[in-house]
């Protein structure tokens, strides 16, 4: 289980995201965030293979009408 980020580090992260919440909710979120960090470790180890790269999200012909591709 990952440790919660230090409060000042977590406050910076919140500020970067533009999120303003009541103080008691921020403290609860800081501890929940540690659980999310544990999930992020699962995603990165072991590192995915190149075949898993989500390049399918970009296609050169996406949404282009067939006529435009022929010009």
């Amino acid at each position: 289980m990952a440790e919660p980020l230090p409060p000042d580090h977590f406050a910076t992260l919140m500020a970067q995201a533009g999120i303003t919440l009541p103080a008691e909710e921020v403290e609860d979120l800081r501890h929940a965030h540690a659980k999310l960090l544990g999930m992020l470790e699962v995603l990165r180890a072991p590192a995915p293979t190149l075949a898993a790269e989500p390049a399918f999200t970009f296609r050169v012909d996406f949404a282009a009408p067939p006529a435009a591709m022929e010009k």
Binding site: I19, K35, M39, A51
Partner: protein
Amino acid sequence: MIPTITEAAGMIAAKKLSPVELMQACQARIAEKNPSLHAFILQTPERALADAKAAEARQMAGTLKGPLDGIPIGHKDIYSTAGIRTTAHSAQLLDHVPTEDAVTVAKWREAGVVLLGKLATHEFAFGGPSFDLPWPPARNPWDTERFTSGSSSGTGAAVAAGLILGGTGSDTGGSIRGPAALCGIAGIKPTYGLCPRTGILPLAQTLDHAGPMAWTSEDCAILLEAMAGHDPNDPGSADRAAPRLDVNQDLRGRRVGLIRHMHETDAQVSPATLKGIEETAEILRKLGATVMDVTLPSLQEFNAAGWVTLSAEAWAVHEEWMRSRPLKYGEFLRARLALGGLLSAGDYIQAQRKRRELIARSFSATADVDLLLTAAALSEAPRIREVPKWMSLEKPNFTIAFNLLGWPALSICTGFGEGGLPVAAQIIGKPWQDGLVLAAGHQVERENGARGRRPG
């Protein structure tokens, strides 16, 4: 007696049941039970009467449109309904009245359904159970101190209590199958791309699925046939014809993979839930299927990729309001959305890499099977006041795996635990095998006896 859709459709076609009287019977149950269940957050009695009278006129003229003509239903309150308030159960949209029906709502309307109203949901299909919203959370009709699960909480409660015969749900991480499991009904998350999502408020677009919930799998098949089809305005919609879903197809020779590690090792289900899964496997064997153990990636891997994807995409939907008016959300939702705002671009991309890898490994591991079987929920419904805010981060669920894969997945009731609350199993198929999944569910339900008991 509360009929199933199949039974009601037969009686309406034979002119033995009046759609108006059927609608009025449902309204009487709503009047009696909704004050304690909170399943409906808006009733539409004038619309219901008009719909029922129109169905009855077609019945008398011999021009019924099909098995949904005259059937009382409700829509989860993230489905847009023209001229009828659609709030997502949130103060953010308290006065939101759409001008158009969602595509799926329009499809059911064209099929002749009788709309009784809008159903409770976890706020924007993600924040619940919450007690700080404009309406209270729905309660489980088997025990009103218990959780319905969510987010299609109102549909689960309303169908189980017989307030409607079927309704819409949406499923991004289990929001159809969770309430179906805890409320003791059937609910299917169809193959990704089968049902149009235009007009449904989004949560996370690469995981969002529209689907039906009803008392039986057979009824789900009728409802799903009527809401499936290509929608050119939904980029996730598949350009293929709506399928014919045959729930009576022969299961002999089918191969069923029991994903034992998911419900015995990755997470440990309750004894009654485990018994229901084993009995479902045995029924499938008796029906002529072969059941064998299969190993998929772990629930922990699926949950990591699933919750990071869901959280990041949900943040992208809500970030403007999360920055400008976060306190108009309930506490649970704004906290869960905020977590998504703390993810980096790298986190999201790693989740997509993991997703691709999980899809490849899952196809490889199931090359020799037609269906899969595991749990739909850990156990019977917990007490609603004891549901932790961060449950999804603390215990892996059994459902989000199949949102990541996009495969069809059905929750059916398998029986009851020691406290008299329902337990469930999840039957999963390969893409576009929704009919086979529903056939397995239907034929198991016919044998397991769990459809003979309603909440009191």
